[in-house]
Every structure is written in C-alpha cells, then in structure tokens.
Symmetry: C2
Subunit: 369 residues, 2 copies
C-alpha cells in the first residue's frame, strides 16, 4: 500500500516527522547486534545461519553474511524466493515443502541457489526427488528430528535411519544432514533450566547423528538453536549450525529472559485523542503491533499503563507523565514479538541518531506461502 | 509479495489447487450477506454506511453501495485514499486525523471525495480548518462522543456543544453531526443485555444531539452501530447511520453471539507433516491467521483439537478423523476475527462452487497510517 518512493521524502528528517503507526529500525543497534553475534561464532566451531523469518529484509541477510554467517535460514518457499532474487545463494528452508506446485518452485530455485530443505516424510522426499530429476537439479535435504518440540520431524533413530536411507537412494535429492529445533526451550526464563532442557534436545539430535553414521550414513550438517539457546547450541559438540534469528532486531520477550542484544525495533505511534486527564488514545493497535507474546512496552514512559489494545487504537492511562503530552505527540513501543509485528508492515524506517537514513521495503512481508 | 497476475493462473481451477496458506472468500455467501443487510436497511429509517476496515476491498465497497449503502466508513486516511482512488466518494473516517502531514492529505482528499472525519478536540479542528482553507476546501466533520466505550470522543453534552460551536466558527470545516461507537456492547453474548447496554449508549448519543439542537446547532448525521448491534441502532429513533462492517465476511466471534450472517471467509491450509497417528502439522500460523479473538475454527473437522499455534505452524490433534488424511491434504479454518486475519494477506482467492473465479489484490492491506 505505502509507496517506498513517496516515503523517500522523509529521508534526512527527524524521526518524529514520520507518519504513524510506523516501524522504526535503529541502524546502529542492528549493526552492533550483528557484530556481537558474529564475534561469538568466530570463537566456536559452529556456524551461524541466521533465520530470515524475523526481519525478512535481504539487506540485513547480506549484512549477516558479510559478518561471517554461513548462509540464511527461512521458513517458507516464498521467503527463499525473495532471498534468491536478492542474491543470497546458501539458503536453508527449515520447514517441509509439500505439494507439486511448491516442489516445482523448489526445483526452480535450485537452479539459482544452493537450497536445502527439511524433510520428515518418505512420500514427500520421493515426490521432491521426482520433480527435481525432471527439472535437472538436485535438492539438498536435512532430515528433521523432533527433539521435543512436538511439531514436525521424525521421532526415533530408526525412523531417521529409514528416511535417510530412502533419501540416499533417490536421484533428485542429496542428504546433507539433520535438523532439530528446540523451540520449546528457547524462552525458558531460568538460564540453568534452559540450558539443561536445551541440552536434552541436543543430546537427542547428536545421538541420531551418531546412529546414522554408525549405519553408514554420512552427516555433514547438524542444525539447531534459536536466539534463546545460541550460546548453548553453538558450543555443543556435534552441532554445526545455529538458526538464531530474533537477535538482529530483538524484542521484549527475549530481553525478559536476559538475552543480551539491543532492541533495534520500535513501533512509533501518535496521540490522537486525550479525552480525560490521564487517558491517551494512540493510533496503533493489533493491525500494526502484535500482542501474541504479551503486551508491547512503552519506551521512556515510566508509570504509563496499556489499558486496552484494539485494531487501530491503544488506550493508555498515565497518571503523572514524565513530560507534558498533547495530541500529535509521538510515543514509541518496543514490540513483545518482533517476528509477528514486522510481518504487519510494508515499510520500515531506518533511523540513526534520530534521523531517518533510509526507508526499506519489506520485500518478504506476508510471505507465508 | 505475491503477484496477482501470477495468481490469475489459478482462476478456473478447483480451490484445492491454490497454494497455501491462502485467504478464501466465498462469493455467494458474501453476496447474500450484502443483500440481507441491505434488505434490513431498506425497511428502517436509518442508512447503512458499512465499515471498510474489515474487508478493505473497494470491489466489495462498491457492491455495498450498489445494494443501497449511503457511503463507506473507514478508520484511517490511508484507507480513505484507497477508497477515493477507486471512486468511492462518500467516505466517513470514523477516527481522529492528527498532525500536519495527515491533515494535508485530508485536504487533498476533500478535492476528490465528500470526506467526513471524526473530531473530538478544538486544536485538531482548528488546525484541520486552517489547512483546509489554505487548500481551498471544506472538510466535513462529526463530533465524536464517548458513549461508554472509553476510547476517543468528548464525554459531556457541554463539551460537545463547546466543540460544535468552535467548529461552526471555523471556515475550513463543516459540522455535519455526531458519531458515537458502542464498541463495548457489540460482542455481549446475551441479546437482551446487549440491547439494553447498546440502548444506554444510544440514549447518550441522541441526548447530545437534542442538547446541541436546543442550543441552535443543527445536526444532520448521527452515526453509530456495529455488526453486533445493527438491528438495535438501525431501529433506534435519531440514529441516521450505522457503521457495521464485519457482517459482509463475518467470523466466528460474531457467529458465537448469534449474528445471523454466513461466514464468507476461510483460511485454507495444507498438512505438511503427520509425525504420529493423531498429530497433524499445518502450514498456517499467526502470520496468516489471528487468534486475538480466540482460536480459529477448523471446518468440517469434528473432534479435531487445535493444540498449538506458532508463527508458521498449527498443530492439531485428531483422534478419529472423519476422513483419511495425509500430507498434502487441505483443511480450512473459519477465522475468529476477520478484520485482523484479512490484514495479514496480500491476496484473496474468490471462490464459487469450490472453483476460483478471481484473485483480488488487498489494495488497502496494512493501511494503518
């Protein structure tokens, strides 16, 4: 809807001149987050393959690769297409690609990128192979293991071995390794418990690798890890890649459990009504700011209470504002969940020292297919 | 992200050939909903001005107007722009438009549509007027009254009168009437209680009208009402317009309280993993289907339980499926909240007799500014 070109007029202006609600990305914090994560992975054996599903911006993916990332992880074929078109070659789709139409797209992509995809089912692998053969490509695959998240993935070593052996026999797919995502552990508040639960998942994953190798199946990649567990998975012997994504932009849910990156993202909003002494109505709501991981956090507004969130309105109660507020004034929120909030926006306004330095088109916004 | 032209290839095919997750709009149900609501308003004194914020599709707005609607209601200047560009002239922005940049856009719009906007603040009205005068237009306004929702709007008759008198003195704005939205009552499950609570709000609104008219302020429009209260507001003496929007596409939250329109909207998804006997993983999640009004409902799946909703995955447990399900099969959800679910999509697939007859671009998707 919003036009990038139109919005270029805002470049060079103070952030408060941006029309709201607007997604702001603080460039210096983003860059420090990328550098900090890169520094960690430069000191361990494991590689970083950051997840694209959070920021969905190819420009950030390229910054992550330049800082040392092995490649990029994403969740959907539509995201992988955006990455390939922006020149990112090494892409893991950490998800199942199902059905003829999507497998045809996958084969098409394999001509232009070194795509890897998760597989947990024999029929799916066979269909993928048949289409790849027909299109003259080979698709790289990882066997997905359910390491306790209770989502996709095979459950046992025997199932993994059977699937891996089938894959080895298929001409259109190439087995590269294993994947297991310990998503059920990444948000555990207590670090020691998070570490022990995460390690249980990693033990399962590495045990499957050992079993497969013992049975003659070579395993090159073992992929795991999120922003809440990257230090644990990144140091765990046998894990070769970590998929952390949220760290680049961060959000309050990860800060709440002590993940030490800066929140680089905010949602800027305007006071549109001030009906009573303590009540302020803001021009954001569920269509531009999510609450699926809890309420967002008002920045620099001690004592302000988010009283209600509607589609296009947020009502706050603020008894003793730290500054004099009036209709037209801007406030900012830190999102509780960056991934779902970013998904609502067509544009993000890149800010440094409170000045807009770029307007980026969210090229993969809504790329859920 | 997704291209409309590319998607035209799906027109004429069975709906199960659509790539998922996908938003489906059942054309016949939509048309029956529009006709049914039009029939109601043809029999009462009140006019219908349907809300655009639900479907955000100009093609539906034009169908509603053709069926007799007075004009269209929307929530944002960005939605009003989409409407004006699609030729809808009579548009109420049922919200405050704040700040110089947006007021300049409002004045620009007033050259191309008979725009009406809600006002609850003197400074805002004055700034609006000054910009309108500079641009050679007059902007129509409604004074918004807080009828108990505790959001925007002035609270008392005296405040309303003071604001109305200021507006009468301003050269760039034209007072057309009043608006009050009883949003706090539209989802009350018990009809009798909903009716009595709604009427309390309408009493307040009509009382303000009486007070203003007694004090020499002519009131032409009195706007209220939602899909949960249209029969109450539409028959209430003194209410001249109802803003109901959700009725066109409907959702399960409104069906739950007995609103008798058909659900015309579904989210189609594919089974991408079937790791154990009863467990199925679907390719939709919070990025394509919202749960801010409760979990969506699986269609034609008695006994299936939605076990988890992640960003791009839904896990369902289904002990005794009514049909044999396998990876690649399609399932459909009725959204619990149409407005926020539609907001996530770039395209909607228009279906009649299970065949795709059109692919519509959600022109106002993400139009929250």
């Amino acid at each position: 809807m919003s036009s990038v070109r139109y919005n270029q007029l805002i470049v060079g202006k103070h952030k408060h001149e941006i029309e709201t609600p607007a997604l702001l990305l603080y460039a210096d914090r983003l860059e420090r987050n990328i550098d900090k994560m890169a520094a960690f992975f430069s000191q361990v054996e494991c590689n970083l393959r950051p997840h694209f599903k959070t920021h969905r911006l190819p420009v950030i993916a390229h910054k992550q690769i330049k800082a040392g990332a092995r490649g990029i992880t994403c969740a959907k074929i539509s995201e992988a297409k955006v990455l390939a078109e922006s020149g990112v070659r090494d892409v893991l789709i950490a998800n199942q690609i199902v059905g003829e139409r999507k497998l045809e797209q996958l084969a098409g992509l394999a001509h232009h990128s070194d795509i890897i995809v998760a597989v947990d089912n024999v029929e799916n692998a066979s269909q993928m192979s048949a289409i790849a053969v027909k299109r003259g490509v080979k698709v790289n695959v990882l066997v997905e293991i359910d390491v306790g998240m209770n989502r996709c993935g095979v459950g046992t070593e025997e199932e993994a071995l059977a699937l891996a052996k089938t894959i080895l026999d298929l001409k259109g797919v190439r087995l590269r390794g294993l994947m297991g995502y310990e998503g059920h552990t990444v948000l555990i508040p207590d670090y020691e418990r998070r570490k022990s639960e995460c390690r249980k998942a990693l033990v399962r994953l590495v045990r499957v690798r050992d079993f497969l190798e013992k049975n003659g199946v070579p395993i090159e990649i073992v992929s795991a890890g999120g922003t809440g567990t990257y230090t644990i998975a990144g140091r765990y012997p046998g894990i070769t890649e970590v998929q952390a994504g949220s760290y680049a932009t961060m959000d309050t849910q990860y800060r709440k459990i002590g993940i030490d990156f800066e929140i680089a993202l905010s949602l800027m909003t305007t006071i549109i009504s001030h009906p009573t002494e303590e009540k302020y109505i803001l021009d954001t709501g569920l269509k531009s700011l999510t609450n699926d991981m809890g309420m967002p956090e008002l920045i620099e507004a001690p004592g302000a209470v988010i009283d209600a969130m509607h589609e296009e309105h947020v009502r706050i109660l603020w008894k003793n504002p730290t500054r004099n507020l009036k209709i037209g004034d801007k406030l900012e929120f830190y999102p509780s969940h960056g991934c779902t909030t970013i998904n609502l926006h067509d544009l993000c306004y890149v800010v440094r020292n409170d000045v807009v330095e770029a307007v980026w088109h969210m090229k993969a916004r809504g790329a859920s297919q």
